[in-house]
């Protein structure tokens, strides 16, 4: 069966050019970059070059980029690292209710360790209110962490404005840009961002690699102590192949960014319109314009997400859902609840995410099949026609 992938927001296939960039470092050029001999020096150079590349596409300097094992580690490090290092200045952190669990669970953990956290609410589109943010800042606020773009509903926050508010109030500003990288033009200096998390596997790069941008001068404790790697800020033998692959993926993302945005946005809007036009009682989640170019998120009344996913999977379509039934837990997506959906509606939500390999034919296939699937499930539902 032909498989049609609509879950680029979860993870992306490795680009074959990226793989080609990685392979030599997995085989011959495997040396430890901390060594003086030639094996090591080759690896060192690859890492230095990669750091340059990653830095340049987000407007940072190479020495402000620290490689990590992924977006989750970057988020944990940014938040715990600045919280612990700036304890003398205060113990208050501001975030939002729609963050990724890597941020939310880290904040919850810090609450158990004497920190206070304000979770800013969002409006029906998933946007925070800037006045709210301003009013939440206190004497003892040390960090604002607001995600760049939401992974579920695609909503893009006003990052530059938040950066300005943070700077005016002399509070550090971290943004989780895992979903934004490769989908939005990012310049950390323009945006006034102090710390930023990014990840490789969301942009056709390898899994298990990410980075944290730490603006020069920002005080941060280590999360992972060890050897002298990453200027002593993150221990562990460097993952040279993954670093090389990540840099290549960044480079490719940057060089095709404008085209990618255009192509994805067109397919996205076509898909949203197609779904809304052909299926009654469906609602778009997230902001109509301020959203990731590849994000389609809809709530479908009367039925439950996992059963839709399963039906789609049986005809080769891979998508995702905000229903808790996909994971077997009780509460549906905290993001969908935060934008005001009822549990029932949240359970019936679907996310299709579009990537660089998505074709109009694939979208048409979904648009062709989805109404029938929905109807079949609605006919089984005690809530429908009820």
């Amino acid at each position: 069966m032909q498989r049609r992938y609509f879950d680029y927001a979860a993870t992306t296939p490795l680009d074959s050019e990226v793989l080609n960039e990685m392979l030599p470092h997995m085989k011959e050029n495997f040396g430890n970059p901390s060594s003086v001999y030639s094996y090591g020096r080759d690896a060192r150079k690859v890492i230095d070059d990669s750091r340059e590349k990653v830095a340049s596409i987000i407007g940072a300097q190479a020495k402000e980029i620290y490689f990590t094992s992924g977006g989750t580690e970057s988020d944990n490090w940014a938040i715990k690292g600045t919280a612990f290092a700036n304890k003398d200045k205060g113990n208050h952190i501001i975030t939002t209710t729609v963050e990724h669990h890597a941020v939310l669970h880290t904040c919850k953990y810090l609450e158990k360790h004497g920190y206070e956290v304000t979770y800013l609410p969002v409006d029906e589109y998933g946007l925070i209110d800037l006045d709210d943010l301003k009013n939440s800042i206190r004497e003892n606020t040390i960090l604002i962490t607001v995600m760049f773009a939401n992974n579920e509903i695609g909503t893009i926050q006003p990052i530059a404005e938040i950066g300005k508010i943070a700077k005016e109030n002399k509070v550090l500003f971290h943004t989780d840009a895992v979903q934004a990288l490769g989908s939005v033009d990012i310049d950390v200096k323009d945006l006034g961002v102090d710390l930023m998390s990014i990840s490789g596997h969301k942009i056709y790069g390898p899994k298990g690699i990410g980075a944290l941008y730490v603006r020069k001068g920002v005080k941060i404790d280590n999360l992972i102590h060890g050897g002298a790697q990453e200027k002593k800020k993150r221990g562990g033998t460097e993952n040279t192949p993954a670093i090389a692959g990540f840099a290549k993926a960044c480079e490719m993302a940057q060089s095709t960014l404008t085209d990618q945005i255009k192509q994805a946005t067109e397919l996205r809007d076509y898909m949203i319109k197609g779904i809304l036009d052909s299926i009654p009682e469906v609602k778009l989640n997230g902001h109509p314009e301020k959203r990731l170019p590849g994000n389609v998120n809809v709530s479908i009344r009367y039925i439950e997400g996992e059963s839709i996913l399963l039906s789609l999977d049986l005809i080769g379509i891979a998508a995702s859902s905000g229903s808790a039934c996909t994971s077997g837990s009780l509460d549906p997506s905290h993001v969908l609840l935060a934008i005001g959906l009822s549990h029932e509606i949240a359970h019936g939500s679907l996310r299709f995410s579009i990537g660089k390999y998505t074709t109009k034919e694939e979208v048409d296939f979904v648009l062709d099949k989805l109404p029938g699937i929905i109807q079949r499930l609605r006919d089984m539902s005690p809530l429908y026609n009820a």
Binding site: Y302, I303, E304, E306, S307, L310, S311, L314, S323, A324, C325, T326, S327, G328, S329, L330, P332, S342, H343, E344, H347, D379, M380, S381, P382, L383
Partner: protein
């Protein structure tokens, strides 16, 4: 994750729908929790002669409802009351750990429908 039997029951559910003149109706779960099951029973001489269901829930919820209706059709009320969720799971060839609770719902829905029938007909438990 799901067995072929689960997939088959999900794709081709038996006994979907409602019974207009049902003798017993049971509804369990809540949409907030992500699952609701509704069972309709037609009962003649203590025997379940017809059964229909409607389910809001995951694939496992649909499959367990469906197979449970097959398992009780033609059975006496006493037999049907003995149906447990592990019997349903066995019949489906197993369920993922986190989906076991969905099968409990099927058991409960049937029990609720029988109870409804009994109370309507003044039968003491």
């Amino acid at each position: 994750m799901y067995t072929d039997k689960v997939i088959d029951q999900f794709q081709n559910p038996r006994n979907v729908g409602e019974l207009d003149n049902a003798d017993g109706v049971g509804e369990v779960g809540s949409p907030a929790c992500g699952d609701i099951m509704k069972m309709y029973l037609k009962i003649e001489d203590g025997v379940i002669v017809d059964v229909k269901f409607k389910t809001f829930g995951c694939g496992a919820a649909v499959a367990t409802s469906s197979i449970a209706t097959e398992m009780i059709k033609g059975k006496t009320l006493e037999e049907a009351e003995k149906l447990t969720n592990s019997m349903v799971i066995d019949e489906l060839g197993g369920l993922p750990h986190e989906k076991v609770h969905c099968s409990v719902l099927a058991e409960q829905a049937i029990k609720a429908a029988i109870k409804d029938y009994k109370s309507k007909h003044g039968i003491q438990e």
